[in-house]
Each structure stands twice: as structure tokens, then as C-alpha cells.
Symmetry: none
Subunit: 302 residues, 4 copies
């Protein structure tokens, strides 16, 4: 049988190629044997199998199957174990990410208040209360990932969207509080991501900033409505700096690039609001510079 099979498509001449049909299998069995023998110890680590769930050394870490098994089944048995493990890992990641997502939603809900009132520390207290929860969740996510070193980017897609949203909320809150951009390292600190194994991907951080930028035109319009005529100037200054900083980057033609291209519309919209306020000489009720005053005088002529 094996014989017939081995010479699947060759005439007798081919058998000369391969006098002993069993030989070609020998090195293989040996190879696998050796692999399988080391595997149990690796299994104990747990990490190992996951780590290589879908990689080279991968099928090395499956338990030794009965020698009776044909190599094909033996291999697929190994794959089954590894795919199940990586599937299980995905499930656990997914579970944490769902919590991240709902925490981010709660944060956003309370953050939305800033569109109705002048933001005060009190307004930000509730969204800020969620930061601790998120830190805890990312800590759990990092633990899950710790089981498979070097696989960050393999599962990255499973949490990046939620993380971008989180970044946008944190950055908006930080700007409201300090008037400064929340830096990458500061996000990492807030979320406890500042370890080399599990950090905040730069592109996710940048995309998060773009999402935050999308919120600003609406914010400016609403602040002017509630009488803060100086808000447009501040937001414009901030957004202009942010936009200029982004322009330093050589963005490939990808999602980040697309998001960034959208930022200029936010910028334009804020400029328009600032223009409306200036042209009407609506006085900023704070450090109005000489020019503002001059402009107010000019208003006199109208």
C-alpha cells in the first residue's frame, strides 16, 4: 500500500530514485521524535506552546503522539493543540477588550458633558475615575500577552481599535486640564503600558489623537455658545501645533494617513469659528492683547 502510494505518479524508473521507501521517513521521525520529547517540559511553561502557536518551532511543542500515528495525523494533532491554544488566547484577549470597550464608553458618556457646560475639574472627575479601571484592564491584557513573548503584533489587531478610542478620550481630558498634548509616554504611564513587552503602539497613539481632533470643532462651537469667546483661539493654537507636528511624519498611504488628512477639516472649522468671534470683536474675557483691544476699537466704527 505504502509502496503503491509512494510511487504515486512515477514509473518504475522513479523507484531507483528512492530505493528504500521507508528511509525518507526515518530522518523525519527522528527529527520529530526529538522535538516531541522536549515538548512536555515546554508545555509546562505554557508560554512556549502559545508563543509558537503558529510559528516555526511551533509543532515542536505538542505532546508526543503514539508512535503508531502516521506523520500526517501526528502533525495535524499538533496543529489542533496549537490552534486551540491560540484560539483560547484570542478568546481571553477578546474578553478583556470587551471590558476596555465598555469602560471607554462610560468614560466618553461622562466626558460628553464638556459640550454643554464650561469644563471644570468637577466635570472631569467622573471620566478620570475610569482611568484606574482601564489601567487595571490593560494590566490584565499585558498578563495574557506575557504568555507569548514576541507575539504582540500577532494579536495587536484585537485591541487596537479600542485603544485608539481610549487614547482620544485621555488626550481630550488632558488638554482640557492642562492645555497641553498628552504625550505618548504619559498615556503609557496612565495605562501602565510602560514596559517593553506590552506598550502603546505609536500608530494607535497617533490615530487616537486624530479622533480627539475630530471632537474639537464641536467643542469650540459649544464653548462659544456658552460664552467662552477665548476658547477658539486656544483650540486653534493647540490644533495648529498638533497638525504641524503630524506634518513632520512621513505617513504611508494607510489608515493613519487617512485619519490625519481628516484633521485639516477640523482645523479649518475651528479657524472659521475663531474668525466669526474675531470679526464680531467678541471680547475674550481674559488676557486680551493689545491687538484685540485695537480690534475692539475698530468695532466702534461699525
Amino acid at each position: 500500500m505504502k509502496l503503491a502510494f509512494r510511487n504515486a505518479c512515477f514509473s518504475l524508473s522513479s523507484r531507483r530514485l528512492n530505493p528504500n521507501p521507508n528511509l525518507p521517513l526515518r530522518p523525519f521521525s527522528v527529527r520529530t521524535a526529538s522535538k516531541f520529547s522536549v515538548s512536555p517540559s515546554l508545555r509546562r511553561l505554557g508560554t512556549a506552546t502559545l508563543c509558537s502557536a503558529s510559528m516555526a518551532g511551533g509543532e515542536g511543542h505538542t505532546q508526543p503522539p503514539p508512535p503508531s500515528y502516521p506523520p500526517l495525523e501526528k502533525q495535524f494533532e499538533g496543529f489542533r493543540v496549537q490552534l486551540d491554544e491560540s484560539g483560547g488566547l484570542r478568546e481571553r484577549i477578546r474578553a478583556v477588550v470587551m471590558e476596555v470597550e465598555s469602560t471607554a464608553r462610560i468614560m466618553h458618556a461622562s466626558l460628553l458633558l464638556v459640550h454643554q457646560v464650561r469644563p471644570t475639574p468637577e466635570v472631569l472627575e467622573r471620566p478620570k475615575a475610569q482611568i484606574g479601571v482601564l489601567k487595571e484592564l490593560y494590566n490584565r491584557l499585558a498578563e495574557v500577552l506575557r504568555e507569548c513573548p514576541g507575539q504582540y503584533y500577532r494579536y495587536h489587531g484585537d485591541w487596537r481599535g479600542e485603544t485608539q478610542t481610549v487614547v482620544s478620550h485621555l488626550a481630550l481630558m488632558h488638554w482640557l486640564e492642562t492645555g497641553n498634548l498628552l504625550l505618548h509616554t504619559e498615556v503609557q504611564e496612565k495605562l501602565g503600558l510602560n514596559n517593553l513587552e506590552f506598550g502603546l503602539d505609536i500608530e494607535d497613539y497617533l490615530i487616537g489623537l486624530c479622533f480627539m481632533s475630530n471632537e474639537l470643532p464641536r467643542f469650540v462651537v459649544n464653548q462659544v455658545t456658552v460664552g467662552d469667546y477665548d476658547c477658539p483661539r486656544k483650540v486653534l493654537k493647540f490644533l495648529t501645533e498638533l497638525h504641524a507636528a503630524f506634518r513632520m511624519l512621513n505617513l504611508r498611504n494607510d489608515f493613519l494617513r487617512k485619519k490625519f488628512d481628516g484633521m485639516k477639516y477640523d482645523l479649518r472649522r475651528v479657524e472659521e469659528v475663531y474668525y466669526d468671534v474675531k470679526i464680531r470683536g467678541l471680547t475674550a474675557n481674559d488676557d486680551s492683547t493689545g491687538e484685540t483691544t485695537k480690534q475692539e476699537q475698530q468695532q466702534g466704527h461699525v
Copy 2:
């Protein structure tokens, strides 16, 4: 002014939150300072920066900017360097992958001959000659990736398609030669991928097998036309075993799953051809051993 900005949207009360507006920046500047000081050496390694191109520790590896720089610009300057490096890496990967793709095409072109004649060792010589070229190319790819340990899955998408094609060709050649499935470890050996850093992703291997399976119905049809009436039985046996092995796996609802679902149509078509041959009693005019007959008896209830 900076002060006014810092308290962008807060009444005085907010200042209490943050008595010394400059303090929150101190630890950051320190952190970056220290980072930036180590960076030149890291730059020299090259690896380091790439490695973290888009990760947490990332912005640590940019050269020290003049202390004058505001943190925002400083950060984006760091990002620029890292994104450019990872972009450059992508370009280099792309260059090698293009060569893999064209080598695979040459291999396929000569492999296609098996659809016109009865495959002999001679027919397989030319496609086999390309294996060495591929091994060399994967070696170069591994070298590029070696510059950024733990980033295999970050760039994986850039070569996986071509690799799946390569696997399908190798697996077909191997089956033609030995009548056995080319195992994952054997592909890795042929392509020199058997190191932990840069191996063959299991899903890519499995998808490659699905592609090979798609070739088999055509092969069977053509072999029968050139008079090998025993080929359908052999292919059917092989494909049945392969299909059964795949069924052991818990496939998530992804590309692999979709490809595998296609395999059953290959199986069905091969069964039909086998049926055509049997129903016409076309006897295998080649080394049909005793067990072929036994097998035919088993097939009796067809």
C-alpha cells in the same frame, strides 16, 4: 501666556489641581533626557530603533534634540525617525518578497508540465532547481527581520501570500515524488526557516495545502487523459486523508476556514473522476499491486 494656555478651560479653582504647571513636565523631560542620551549607541545598532519602531519603548531611541524643543515637537521628531525606519524596513522586505514571488512563478511555470505528461523525476528537476533560490531569499528575509526581534507578526502580512503559494508548489512536488504530504517541518527545512526567530506560520502552511488541493482535480483529469487510470484512486486517497486531517482542526471563521471549505469541492471532483474511471472499468495499466485489487474490492460497493 503659557500660564493662560495651561489653564485653557479652567477657572482659578482648577489651578489648585495643578499648583506648579511646570512640575508635570519635569519627570517627562527627565525620562526623555535619559532616554535620548542612550539613544545614539542604540541608533548604531540599528536594530534597536527598528525593533521598537512603533512600540512602547519606541520614542526612546531618537537622537537627543536641542533642549529648547517643546516636548510635542521632540516627541514627533522621535516618531518621524521611527516611522521612517519602519517604512524603510518595509521597502526592503518588499524588495525580497518581489523576488520570492517571481521565483515562485518560475517554479510554477515548470511545474505546470505535470498537467501535460506523466510526471517523472525528470519533469520535477526544473521546479526543484528553484528551491535553493527560495531558500536563499528567505534567508535574506530572515536577515532583514533579524533587525527587529519580536516583530515577525508586525510585517508578516507583507510576505504571507507569496509564502502560501510557495508552500503549495513544494507540497505538490513532494506528493508527486513521494506520495506523501510535505510536513511543516519539511517545508521549513527546504526553505531554511527552521529557526525560532523566523519560521513558517502554521496558517500559511495550511493555506498553502489548500491551494495545492485546488490543483489536484485538474491534475487527475489530465492524468486520466494521458492514460494513468490509477491516478484518481491515489489522489482521492491522499485528498481524503488530508481533508480528514483538516477536519481535526477548530478553524475560526477566517481566511483559512474559507480556503478549507473549498477543499471539499476538490474532493468531490476527484471522486467524480474516480467514478468515471471505475464505471468504465478502465484498468490501471501500471504497477497495480495486490492491494490495489483489494482496494478495488473495497470500492466494490461504489
Copy 3:
């Protein structure tokens, strides 16, 4: 006025930059003047203006406008002339291409007969009669293009689709007549395109061959229906050679690549038809080789 305009956005300080507002215009006017002076002669050539209709030296070839004209209007007047000329050229190309298209349609209509009867020289007489018409039309097209050397690829898109169709018809007719592939040089000869100025683009030729290939499965099915059991073998041999030849090419991921990928389905379909004929031992009424005979004997057992 000019003065106020010139300093559009500069404070006085800027005027120092540019003490004499008229100076910067001098060299410009001179430049244009000289250009415009040479242009009439060029106009006479006709070619010249077209040739550069939308290119560098372009606006040099417009007739001298009254010196009164401001440079902006002067320039756009030049553009108007050139865009109109290139538009006119496009119209003339379009007119010829429409005739090519309808001639190709006539050719196709009479060529379709080969799907109902066994092709004979008589059947091909009518489509062949159109070749002369096409040659004449391409000659007219070449004349139009001769007016703007080096602009072949600028207007190429206007006729390539129709040309690909023409190639597919000619190639099918040629194969029916000779059993060989119509070569690129042979198409050029038939259509009088063998001059360096206006030739047949290789990609158009190749795409045309792909279109021809799409006709073959239907042809094979119909020929078997009218009793030509040897047709599948011939078509299969031809299509296999053609497909293998295409595989030598490094096709970029473009339209040609897409069309070529489709060819393998034609090949598969023809193989299936050939298989049906063989498995039923339908005797080819021509040089049936020993193998075929053996196969017929085997049929005896059924």
C-alpha cells in the same frame, strides 16, 4: 495698483526685498517675447503645437498676443489654443476609433459562425475581408498621431481597447487557419503598424490574446457537438503552450495580470472537455496514436 498688489501680503519691510516692482517682470516678458516670436513658424508646421500641446515647450508655440495683454491672460490664451488643438486631435482620433470599433464588430459577427459549423477557409473569408479595412483605418490613425511625435502614449488610452479586440479576432482567425499563434510582428504586418512611430503596444497584444483564449472553451464545446472529437486535443495543446509562455512574464498587478489569471479557467474548461472525449474513447478521426488505440481497446471492456 500693481504696487499695492505686488506687496500683497508684505509689510513695508518686504519692499526692501524688491525695490523695483517692475524688474521681476522684465526677464519674464523678454523670455515670453522671444518664445512667441518663434512660434508662428512652428504653427505652420502644425505638428509643433500639437506635439507640445500640453508639454514643457508648449506655451511657447502660441501666436504672439498683443503686448498689451497681462502675462496671466497671455498665458491662458496660449493654453486655450493648445488645449483646443489637443481636444481637436482627440476628436479626430475618436472618429477613427469609432470606425475601427464598428469594423471589428462586423468581423466578430461573421467570425461567430465558427461556433456553429466546422471552420473552413470559406467561413473565414468574410471576417478576413475586414482586415484590409482595419489596416486602412490604422493607417489613418497613424497619420493623425504623426502630427505629434512622441505623444503615442498620451492618446494611447483612446484606442487601446478597440485594438485589443481586433487582436483577439485576428489571433483566433490565424489559429483556425494555421494552428499557430499569431505573432506580434504578424499583427503589426496585417494592420500596417510596423513603423517605429506608431506600433502595436505589447500589452495590448497580450490582452488581445487573453480575449481570444476566452473564446476557446466555447469553441471546443461546439466543435465536439458537431463531431470534431480531435479539436479539444488541438486547442488544449495550443492553449497550454500559450499559457506557459505567458507564465514566463513578470506581470505587474495590473489589468493584463488580471486578464491572464482568467486564462487558466479557459485552460481548465478545455481540459475537462478533452477529458470527457477521452474517457468515452470517442475516436479522433485523424492520426490516432497507439495510445489512443490502446485506450479504445480498453473501452472494449466496458
Copy 4:
């Protein structure tokens, strides 16, 4: 066999058509032979092959294949060489264009400052510094194209988008400096495109102007906010002239036409800003000369 093949689908009668099946090949082989003999020298020139990479004379420039080769393979071998060369050329073009794109981005980044401050010669120094870099890059691009005379429009699509962006930046800078439109010849001079082989396509120039126009409403809004109340009048005058000049052109229904249609929205927006300023009697607090007043009188019927 060849014979049987040649008369693929004809009865004997057809053979009369073509008494000597080998004859039709003779002239071809001769033709190619001669061509192939000259080719090596051409290969050395490099240019030649590229030049005709995908054109009529094309397959003439492949190295002489062994006479054994069948014409079909011989032809495709020629195509392979030519397609590879043209693909290589595309790669080299792409590399330069990527640099053009990133230089244009740097230029734009520094040019954006004019939206925050009153433009001064100092502000324009940085973007102007990039012009030299661009000139150098276009020079390299021209060198690449020089390898295939008469193929400008074949590869044109690979750089036109970036070039349109470059034109829009240069035109904006020029207007800010001189209050005049940057003419086509002036762009060519700045970028060193004033040679007949490699120039600036007029449509690219015009599209670039449309892009510049899109920047002007934003510019006007921002200038008014920084207190330059005379800016709207100047921009309106410029944009009105530009729009009127475009109206002289007979634009086909293409991309340029679409872009131009957008210009009227820029015009409308600038008119609105000018209206806002006038209705509030915001006096231009800068060098408003007598003709400004005259101009205001003219605007009286606004």
C-alpha cells in the same frame, strides 16, 4: 504531428490555402533573426530596449535566442525582457517620486505658517529652501526618462499627482511674495523642467493652480483674524482674475474640469469674507493707497 496541428481545423481543402506550411514562418524567422542580430548592441545602450519596452519595434531588442526555440517562446522571451525593463524603470521612477512627495510635504509644513501669522519674507524662507531640492529631484527624474525618449506620457501618471501638489505650493509662495500668478514657464524654470524632453504638463500646472485656490479661503479667514483686513480684497481680485482666465479654456469633462468647478466655491467663500469685512467697515490698517479707495468705489455696488 506539426502538420496535423498546422491544419488544426481544416479539411485537406484548406491545405491548398497554404501549400507549404513552413513557408509562412520563413519571413518571420528572417525578420526576427535580423532583429535579434542587432539587439545585443542595442541592449548595451540600455535606452533602446526601454524605449521600445512595450512598443512596436519592441521585441526587436531581445538577445538572440537559440535557433531551436519555437517562435512563440522566442517572442515571449523578448516580451519578458522588455516588461522587466519597463518594470525596473517604473521602480526607479517610483523611488524618485517618493522623495518628491516627502520634500513637498516638508515644504507644505513650513508653508502652513502663513495661516497663523502675517506672511513675511522670513516666513517663506524655509519653504523656498526646498525648491532647490525639488529641482534636483526633477533633474533625476528627467535623467531616468531620458532613457526612453518619447515615453514621457507612458509613465506620466506615476508622478503627475505629486507634481500638481508641488505646483500648488510654488504658486502660493509666489503669490504671497509678488501678488502675481506664477506662470507655467516660471514653474518650469524653478524646477528645471524647461527642456523639450521633460517638461511640465499644462494640465498638471492648471490642476496645481486649482489646489492653490483651495488654500485661499482659509488663508483669507486667517489673515482677517490676525488683523489684515485688506487681504480679502487682494485675494478676491487675484482669484477673480484666475477664475476668469480659466473660463477662457475649453475644458473637457475630466479631472481638471472637476477641479476647476471647485474653484467657484473658493471664490464665493472669499467674497463672503470680503463682505463681512466691508459691512463692518473694518478699515485696512495698512498701506491702503489711493487706488484702494478707487477700488472700493468700484466695489460700491457690492
